[in-house]
């Protein structure tokens, strides 16, 4: 993925004592997690299934609320009362293992979806979406539906969508999990390019050792806790 210069003086994300409990206390997905992510950093999170990786990612992205603990983004708590919709629209981009593209929209239309809350003018939305698709190497696939794209191309469209509103942070949940090795390498390289050229911070859940190896830092989780690699 390549290494960007990381500003370790500041914290983009700071997590303190984060817990998450489901099913009326019967499932403890996170058990007091503490860690920070610096601007421009690529942090890989690894661990077995059920270790709490995806739960942590959901909380970082404001998709869910912690049961207890503190989560700060740019020094501001991501708590109840904060406009988490606005936060997700403008500060965070998501890349999912299964791409999660809308099947009846073309690539350029899918990339525009996050822009609706931020940019009113359809023309400007389209222009930006086209520019992002060129950035991810798909200028010739703009009017294709997801079913007409290869899996690697779909994930690149998803990355372009994640960049739609110039987020400070991209959260990628197993972005190469559904890809063959060649496509996985392309997507990994693309994320690295995004990190280097745009300074976008990336937190990435992965089982892929190549992806983990190319991150600035690797955090290991088990049973809802960080067990290794938390030195920031």
């Amino acid at each position: 993925m390549g290494r960007n210069v990381v500003d370790r003086r500041a914290d983009l994300v700071a997590v303190r004592g984060l817990t998450k409990v489901y099913d009326r206390g019967t499932v403890q997905a996170l058990r007091g997690v503490d860690f920070v992510v610096h601007p421009g950093e690529v942090v890989a999170i690894i661990g077995p299934s059920g270790s709490g990786k995806s739960t942590l990612l959901n909380l970082l992205g404001g998709l869910d609320r912690p049961t207890s603990g503190e989560l700060l983004f740019d020094g501001v708590p991501l708590a109840a009362g904060r406009d988490t919709d606005r936060f997700r629209a403008t500060r965070v981009g998501f890349v999912f293992q299964t791409f999660q593209l809308l099947p009846t929209l073309t690539a350029v239309q899918n990339v525009q979806i996050p822009m609706f809350e931020v940019e009113r003018a359809p023309g400007r939305r389209r222009a930006k979406a086209e520019a992002l698709l060129r950035l991810v190497g798909l200028p010739h696939r703009m009017r294709h539906l997801p079913a007409q794209l290869s899996v690697g191309e779909r994930q690149r469209v998803a990355i372009a969508r994640a960049l739609a509103n110039d987020p400070a942070l991209i959260l990628a949940d197993e972005p190469t999990g559904s890809l063959d090795s060649r496509a996985a390498a392309e997507v990994t390289e693309l994320l690295g390019t995004v990190n280097r050229q745009r300074g976008t911070t990336i937190v990435i859940i992965t089982h892929d050792p190549d992806v983990a190896a190319s991150a600035h830092r690797v955090i290991q989780m088990r049973d809802g806790r960080i067990v290794a690699g938390n030195a920031a």
């Binding site: 629209a89 979806i113 359809p122």
Partner: protein, 372 residues
């Protein structure tokens, strides 16, 4: 791409369900429009029975003409200031040539009503056993001028077949008032009076005269019902029953349509749980998701409303091919019926879509993305 194109895309994605929903809504709103037009047509024809006869006030026993009012009341009415003409009549449903439910009216031969008619043949004499048949009833009975019909066990000669602008009137049989009284065995008794006032110099003056005469009649004969022509038709039991029935059927159709739309939209939300979660994850606010789904619902029902109008127009025009059913024709129905139908389509879309849309907007993005 706009949000509206997303709405269209969602509807297009499920063509069968969208078509069925539009059809269901179209039938419901077409039913509403048809019934309202039927009721309006009936009321319009009914009030036309009186309006076209240059009648201003109608005096009866109980707002029907089947009551018992002394014919002498007519003499008193003629003597009132402002009164122009007074026409006594007797009305009832009779069996004519074995066909029941035929409207039968007894008139004085010089009544203004009869002079308005276009008659093939001639009008009846004062005490004759003669009848005028409306064109539609004549056709139904297969009778022509010179034939004989059986009314109340009596053979009555058809001396004329008439046409008029009023469908209800052309379903009627007119006989001399005295004959009707003899058939009933009630001489000197009528069902009521048509009263026309003396025309004023303008509309306003005439209205004032109508008000004065009405007040005078009510003071003199408090036991009788005195109504303006337009009120009489509106308050008529048959018209009222038709109007109530029309509204009742329309409400039922509307409720069924709402349930149909709720079902369609609920299914759509369930199937698109993951998609809705994705939109929320990508920063869409709840109100935007709500707006997206409500827009789909409203678009479906508005298209259904347009279809309903088309179905109603086609259906009523087919009915109107039969001249006797022409009172049902939609041509001439007030534009407000169309506006009401479109408005109901809008309300239907909002009512049917609001609950599913609200539920969709409350979906937790994290849970929705895990939804299989």
């Amino acid at each position: 791409m706009t949000q509206f194109s997303l709405v269209l895309s969602a509807i297009w994605r499920r063509p069968l369900r969208s078509v069925l929903t539009v059809l269901g809504v179209g039938v419901a709103l077409g039913t509403f429009l048809s019934f309202q037009s039927l009721a309006w047509g009936l009321e319009n024809n009914w009030s036309g029975l009186y309006r076209d006869k240059n009648t201003d006030l109608i005096v009866t026993q109980d707002t029907t003409f089947a009551g018992t009012v002394s014919q002498n009341v007519g003499d008193v009415l003629r003597g009132l200031p402002g009164v122009g003409t007074v026409a006594p009549l007797l009305w009832g449903l009779s069996t004519v040539d074995g066909q029941g439910g035929v409207p039968l009216t007894g008139w004085d031969p010089d009544a203004a009503t009869l002079s308005r008619l276009t008659v093939r043949g001639r009008r009846f004499g004062p005490n004759a056993r003669e009848a005028l048949l409306g064109a539609y009833v004549a056709r139904r009975l297969g009778k022509a001028v010179g034939d004989v019909v059986l009314i109340g066990g009596q053979q009555i000669k058809v001396v004329g077949v008439f046409t008029s602008d009023n469908v209800l009137e052309m379903q009627s049989v007119y006989i001399p008032l005295t004959l009707f009284q003899r058939l009933r065995g009630t001489p000197g008794v009528v069902g009521g009076f048509y009263v026309a006032v003396v025309r004023g110099k303008d509309e306003k003056a005439t209205r004032a005269t109508i008000t004065m005469v009405s007040r005078e009649i009510k003071a003199r004969f408090p036991e009788l019902a005195t109504d303006r022509t337009e009120d009489f038709a509106r308050n008529n039991e048959v018209v009222g029953l038709t109007r109530t029935t029309a509204w009742g059927m329309s409400v039922i159709a509307f409720v069924v349509a709402v349930l149909g739309v709720v079902n369609t939209m609920s299914m759509a939300v369930l199937e698109r749980t993951r998609e809705i979660g994705l939109l929320r994850a990508l920063g869409w606010r709840r109100r935007r998701v709500l707006g997206l789904l409500l827009s789909e619902s409203v678009l479906l029902t508005m298209v259904g409303g347009g279809l309903g109008i088309a179905l109603a127009i086609i259906g009523l025009r087919l009915l109107a091919r039969d001249p006797e059913m022409r009172l049902l024709a939609i041509t001439g129905s007030p534009p407000r019926f169309y506006a009401e139908t479109i408005a109901m389509g809008l309300v239907l879309g909002l009512l049917g879509g609001v609950l599913p849309a609200y539920r969709a907007a409350r979906i937790s993005p994290a849970e929705a993305l895990r939804y299989e």
